[in-house]
Each structure stands twice: as C-alpha cells, then as structure tokens.
C-alpha cells in the first residue's frame, strides 16, 4: 500500500469528436486533498468521472490504488474489465455530485444503507447503525426519517457525503459539491469536508471555492482546455500564478 492513490499519465477523452481531456498528468498522494480548478468546460468534471469509470477514457494511463481503471494488464495486453469488476472498483471510490442525486424515493437513512446492504452485503441492522453514526458526524441525526425533498440543499449534500462514506471508500471525489447551494448553505458542507480532510481521507475536489482550496488542499491543479496548465501548492500558485491563463482566471473568480 504505497505509491500514489491516483496517477494519471496522458489521459485523453473526447465526446463526439470534441477533445475534452488532451493529455492530463496528475498525481494524488494518499491522505491528501487535491483541488481541481478551472473555467467551465475545462475538463475537471470529466477527469473526475474518468477516475471512477463513469466515463471511459480513450487513451493514456489512469491508475487508482496502483490498479488500471477499467482494464487489466496481462501478458502485454489490456483486457477490459467486466461489469462486476468495475462495480467493485466503483464501490471503493465515493462520489459526491453537484446536484446531490439522493435517491428521491428513499428516506435519508435508506439512502445511506442501500449501498452497504445491496452492494457490500452488510447486515441491515449494522448498516443502519453505521448510517446513524455518519448522520451524527454530518450533524443530521434528527433527519433520518425525512425524504430528500424535505431537506435543504446543504442538508441534502451532507446526506450525500454520508451516503458515500458509508461504503468506506479509499478515495472521495467531489464534483463541485457547493455549486448548486444557496450562499448561506455553502459553509455547512465545506465544514463537513474539512473535517473529512482532517481525518486523513484522500480527496479530489473540483471546486470554485478558492478559500477552501487555499486552506484545505495540499495540491492544486489548474485545468484549462483539457490540459493541466499549472499545479503546485495552493498558497503559492494562488498568490503568484505563473501562467497567463491562471492569472486571468483568478482575476475573474477572486
């Protein structure tokens, strides 16, 4: 269990002839928080979705925990993994979405237990116990019987984080987790994420929250036009951006 948690070398991805990722190199160290920033359409979300194989990358090498994503290298050939193997891969990577995507027909508690019970085969009672623990951790122990539509955006996102954590992931992916929230609700979600970072979770966060990136991230990547324009320690590159594109991007968002 050594080496980086995520390693991308020359990752390419196109949709219908449009190249969204044009050779991305990225390294995510275990236990660290990596933030991805960049203008919309720069490929941040696509990169995230390639990492847990929601999208298939076209070329390049993408490894999570030392294993190739979606492929198995045997005897000099790459074998595409079958559905079962890919599902197992995904189950060990948590993902939090911009629009929460809580299961609308389940209560908060059921949202958090369903993956444990149906994917990992955890005993339902144990799953409920774990779900209650996680709800306490995100400050929503009162809401276990509520349906998602009865919660505020911030509360829904915290449930979504608890749902992902219930699978005991080795890596958490956040796809603009606060972009769909009212400004006054952003703080409660970021607080939960900070706690999570402090607990040593490996996290990749696509975000527009520069303060969060500056305070919490160990490494910051700036994507533009499908390539990494600049990367490094957040305080350094946010204070003194080298590339012109990052300078103009920061002048717009800060």
């Amino acid at each position: 269990m050594s080496g980086p948690m995520v390693e991308a070398r020359g990752v390419h991805k196109s949709y219908a002839g449009v190249e969204v990722l044009r050779g991305v190199d990225l390294t995510v160290v275990r236990g660290e928080v990596t933030c991805l920033i960049g203008p919309s359409g720069s490929g941040k979300s696509t990169l995230l979705r390639c990492i847990n194989h929601l999208e298939k990358h076209d070329a390049g090498e993408l490894r999570v925990d030392g294993e190739l994503v979606g492929y198995e290298a045997r005897g000099g050939k790459l074998y595409e993994r079958n559905d079962k193997q890919i599902c197992a891969e995904r189950a060990s990577i948590g993902m939090v979405f911009q629009r929460f995507n809580l299961f609308q027909h389940f209560t908060v508690l059921e949202n958090i237990t369903i993956g444990q019970v149906k994917v990992k085969g955890v005993d339902p009672e144990a799953a409920r116990e774990k779900a209650r623990e996680l709800l306490t951790r995100v400050g929503l122990e009162q809401k276990e019987k509520a349906y998602p539509s009865q919660l505020s955006g911030g509360q829904q996102q915290r449930v979504a984080i608890a749902r992902a954590l219930a699978m005991e992931p080795k890596l958490m992916l956040f796809d603009e987790p606060t972009s769909a929230l009212d400004p006054e609700l952003v703080g409660e979600v970021l607080d939960v994420m900070k706690d999570l970072a402090l607990s040593g979770m490996t996290m990749i966060v696509v975000t527009h929250e520069m303060n969060f990136a500056r305070e919490v991230a160990n490494t910051l990547y700036f994507l533009d036009g499908g390539i990494i324009e600049e990367s490094g320690h957040p305080r350094e590159i946010l204070a003194a951006p080298k590339s012109e594109r990052l300078q103009s991007f920061l002048s717009k968002v800060l």
Partner: protein
C-alpha cells in the same frame, strides 16, 4: 386598502354566465335522470315471432325495465361471465405489464438489435386492430397447427403442442391476443416512466457500485412507477372493457353471458344495461384502488402525499367547525 386595521368587507366577483350555464346543465341532467327512472304508460314489451305469429308479453312498466335488470344482475350466468371478465383482465394485464416493461428496457438498450426488435414489436401490435389480432390468434392453428420445442432449423424436437386439438382454447386465444396487444401500449408507458427518472439518480447508484440490474430494480423502476401508475390504471380500466371483444371469439365473459341470455329471450336492453352496470361497478372499484396506489408511489416525490377521501372529509369538517368556533369566539369577544 384598509389602513386603520379595521376589517373591510370584500365583495367577490360574480360569475353570472357560469351560474346560467350551471342551471341549464342541472335541468338537462334532471330530465335525463327522470327519464331513466320513468315508467311508460304502455310498459315495455318483449316480442318474438313464433311460426309466423308475432307474440308479445308485458315485461316491465319501467322504461329501463329495472325489475328485469335487477333479476338478471345476480344470476349465475352473469356472475360467471363477470368472473371470466375479471380473470381475463388480470391475466392480460399481467402479460402486458411484464412484457411491456421488458420491451421498454430493450428499447432503451444501447444494443441496436435489441432496441429495433422492441421498436418493431410495438409498431406491429399497435399498428393492427386488437379485434383483428384476437381473430388471428383464435385461428392461429391454420398457420401453425403444431408448435414444437427443439433445436432451431432441424427436425429434432422434444415437445409438441397440437394447437388444432383443442389445446388452444378461446380463452387462451383471447388472453394471448389481449396480453400481447397490451404489452405494446404498456411498453410505451413504461418507457416514458424510465426516461423521466433523472440521469443523476443512475449516476449516483452506479457510483455506489450497483450493477446495471440493481440500479434498474432498486433506483430507476421504483421512481418510474410514479409516472407509470396513472396511465397503467387507465389501461386496466380500458382492458376491463376491451375484454368484451373476447365474446367475438367465443369466450363467455360478461358481455358474452349477457348476449347468450338475450339471444334466447330477446331481453336485449335489460341485459345490456345489466352488463354495463357491472362494468361500472368494477371500474369504480379500480379507480379507488388506483388512487391509493398512486399515493403509495408518490413517496418522497411530494412533500405531503395527497389526502385520502376520509382525510379530506375530516379536514373539511374540522375546517367548518373551527370557522364556527372562531366566529362564536369573536362574537363573544365583541360582547
């Protein structure tokens, strides 16, 4: 607007046109109801020609022969026909729903061959009249006298079904005909429901590590149900009435039973009314069932589920009572 806090009397807009239209409608409805329950001075007769001589006998003083309807309403022939109608409705809908959902899933598959097979199925079964389909299934033995299960394109067969030798009864023909036809319509309903589920729900399920089948069964279908149930309720009610077509291929269901009786005694109208009343009774029961089913599957989609009629009654009663009490309280306060 009142500025000093005193209550100001509000005069609502009067809709005179609406009142007149309502009055006219009420008069027409009253006339219709009166005629339905009226008596004829001469009474109703039933006549038939027996060896060249027209013979009539008095039937009922009611225009609608209510006493005759009452007599036949619970006769064993009619009740037996009703049971067959219900059986046919339930079984054909079962075939329709199961096959329809399967076809909808096939239609949405990324595999071109599967989706075009599904499209062709719907095209064919929606494109020909259901009555024609029933007649074809009834006569299917002309095309396929024997059905065998074996190895395709060889003469090796393990089991034979002889369709000509009474194996394929009129009831089975009607069931297959109605069920397969229904599947075409149900597949479109199910497809609409499946499409209506947000893509994000599927992504969330996938990212938890659920397989495609788990995602469909645990996340997509339950949420699609909310969209699927109301039109499916319509389909059940529609199917209940469409089963009457089965009488054409010799199934003695409700209409078949009624027509068998009136073929013998010429009481055409009373028996058609009897059958219609039974259809209405079952339709009413089904509508009530549909309401509760919709309410169940609205779980999570609405902040508060629609009230049941009982709950609505209680709310209205409480509303009237509380209005009454607050008014009394305010009157006493004035005193």
């Amino acid at each position: 607007m009142a500025t000093n806090g005193d209550a100001v009397k509000v005069v609502p807009v009067r809709h005179y046109g609406q009142w007149i239209a309502a009055a006219v409608a009420m008069v027409l409805v009253a006339m219709l109801v009166h005629s339905i329950f009226s008596k004829l001075p001469t009474g109703q007769y039933a006549c038939r020609v027996v060896s060249g001589v027209r013979k009539c006998h008095a039937l009922s003083e009611w225009r609608f022969s209510w006493n005759v309807v009452g007599h036949y309403f619970t006769t064993s022939e009619i009740l037996h026909g009703l049971v067959v109608t219900l059986e046919l409705t339930v079984l054909a809908m079962l075939v329709g729903v199961v096959l329809g959902v399967t076809i909808a899933v096939m239609r949405l598959s990324t595999n071109r061959l599967l989706s075009s097979t599904a499209w062709t199925y719907t095209w064919f079964f929606r494109g020909t009249p259901v009555l024609v389909q029933l007649l074809v299934w009834y006569n299917i033995a002309i095309l396929y006298p024997v059905i065998s299960i074996g190895i395709p394109f060889t003469h090796i067969a393990f089991v034979h079904f002889n369709l000509r030798a009474s194996g394929f009864t009129p009831f089975l023909a009607a069931l297959v005909g109605l069920g397969l036809n229904e599947a075409a319509y149900m597949s479109e309903i199910a497809r609409a429901g499946l499409i209506a589920v947000d893509e994000g729900q599927i992504e969330a399920a996938t990212s938890l590590g659920m397989t495609r089948r788990q995602t469909l069964r645990l996340v997509v279908l339950p949420q699609a149900m909310r969209v699927i149930i109301p039109p499916t309720g319509n389909e059940v009610i529609s199917m209940l009435k469409t089963t009457s077509l089965a009488s054409v291929v010799g199934v003695i269901e409700l209409l078949g039973a009624a027509s068998n009786i009136y073929a013998a005694n010429y009481l055409i109208m009373p028996l058609l009314i009897t059958a219609s009343l039974w259809y209405l009774v079952v339709t009413t029961v089904l509508s009530v069932g549909q309401f509760y089913l919709e309410r169940h599957f609205a779980k999570g989609a609405l902040r508060s589920p629609p009230l049941t009629p009982l709950q609505r009654l209680r709310r209205d009663l409480l509303g009237v009572l509380s209005k009454f009490y607050t008014r009394r309280a305010s009157i006493e306060a004035v005193r």
